[in-house]
Assembly symmetry: C2
Homo-oligomer: 203 residues x 2
């Protein structure tokens, strides 16, 4: 249940985030969100006139959390290694605190990819990748890293960070570990990814 010392809109947003993140748009119920926020359905519709509008608010926040920080890092004046380390550190910290965020965002995007297109994230994200790609080319030219395709390397970076969270049910079962042990693996993973990537691209 949501804390009652916040204003009603914030209580709704907090409750809706929790329900939508876990159950997705189709699985979430307005009744459950209202109850979780400590109000009733009527008042919920007073603040957000439709389930769609409430969901849009929640999804925007989640997408922003996923996309914004990477854009910031990639536009800073850093070496490739510094950018990669920054992304790994920031993302792993974010996802350890919000482990279901990527599953939620990716699943909703898979059902409606147009949620991404047309938003201002679109151009931001593309120009951010250009920065990454440029850094890769520079390091290759300097001979600091081996010949490696920027698209594949960026895919690797995102994969190594995010998949342990979206694939958790399978990996945890395959490893035969409990929640605490899996969380420990996630903690160790931050250093592992940085080392792994560094070794994999060295010239």
């Amino acid at each position: 249940m949501v804390q009652s010392d916040k204003n009603t809109e914030q209580k709704i947003l907090d409750a809706a985030a929790e329900i939508f993140h876990i159950k997705g748009f189709d699985g979430a119920r307005m009744q459950e969100i209202a109850h979780h926020a400590g109000i009733n359905k009527g008042l919920l519709h007073y603040y957000f006139k439709s389930k769609d509008s409430l969901f849009d608010a929640i999804f925007s926040i989640a997408l922003n959390q996923i996309v914004a920080r990477i854009v910031v890092i990639l536009h800073q004046d850093l070496t490739l290694n510094e950018k990669i380390d920054g992304i790994v550190d920031q993302y792993m910290d974010l996802l350890i605190k919000n482990p279901i965020l990527p599953q939620f965002v990716l699943n909703e995007l898979s059902k409606d990819a147009d949620r991404f297109i047309g938003k201002h994230f679109n151009e931001m994200a593309k120009s951010a990748f250009s920065e990454f790609s440029l850094s890769v080319e520079q390091e290759i030219a300097k001979g600091a890293i081996r010949q490696v395709n920027a698209h594949q390397l960026f895919t690797n970076l995102m994969s190594l960070i995010m998949f342990p969270f979206v694939g958790r049910p399978i990996l945890q079962t395959v490893f035969g570990v409990d929640n605490q042990e899996y969380n420990h693996l996630l903690e160790l993973r931050k250093a592992h990814i940085k080392e792994f990537l560094k070794i994999a691209v060295r010239s």
Copy 2:
């Protein structure tokens, strides 16, 4: 629409797979599945008495596709490199043909992880990882690869293969490429992953 020269049960399974894979359990509608199979709701319930039972049939097939082949490979008498290459080749081929399979399985598991536990997959998957882990230790002992944690390496392997499919909406937007170009990146990825992993673990 499903081909009409198959028996009714198979038409239903084909139609249900397509709808469930795309929309998930909560988003799928029995009416839509019936229509897609070229029959009506009454007949659909005659073959599968509930939405749950139909879904279970579809989910079992999908989970089996994801889990079965990896188990087979890992239990064969192969070197670590051969096992890794086999998994990359087989999975990439499977996922290029069925790109939404991992998103479907992972999302449903995230909403109900118990679907995995208690099935016979459970023990199979755990013993398969033991085989992998053993291979890693042997190669390290031989000095063929550097010191690397088996859990992290297995996570990396699965991440590099699967994430490009579940994360496609984001990656494709970030790269600013169309479907054809992204498919091309996926084709190139098979060789990329094998090379990347080999370099990353060499001693």
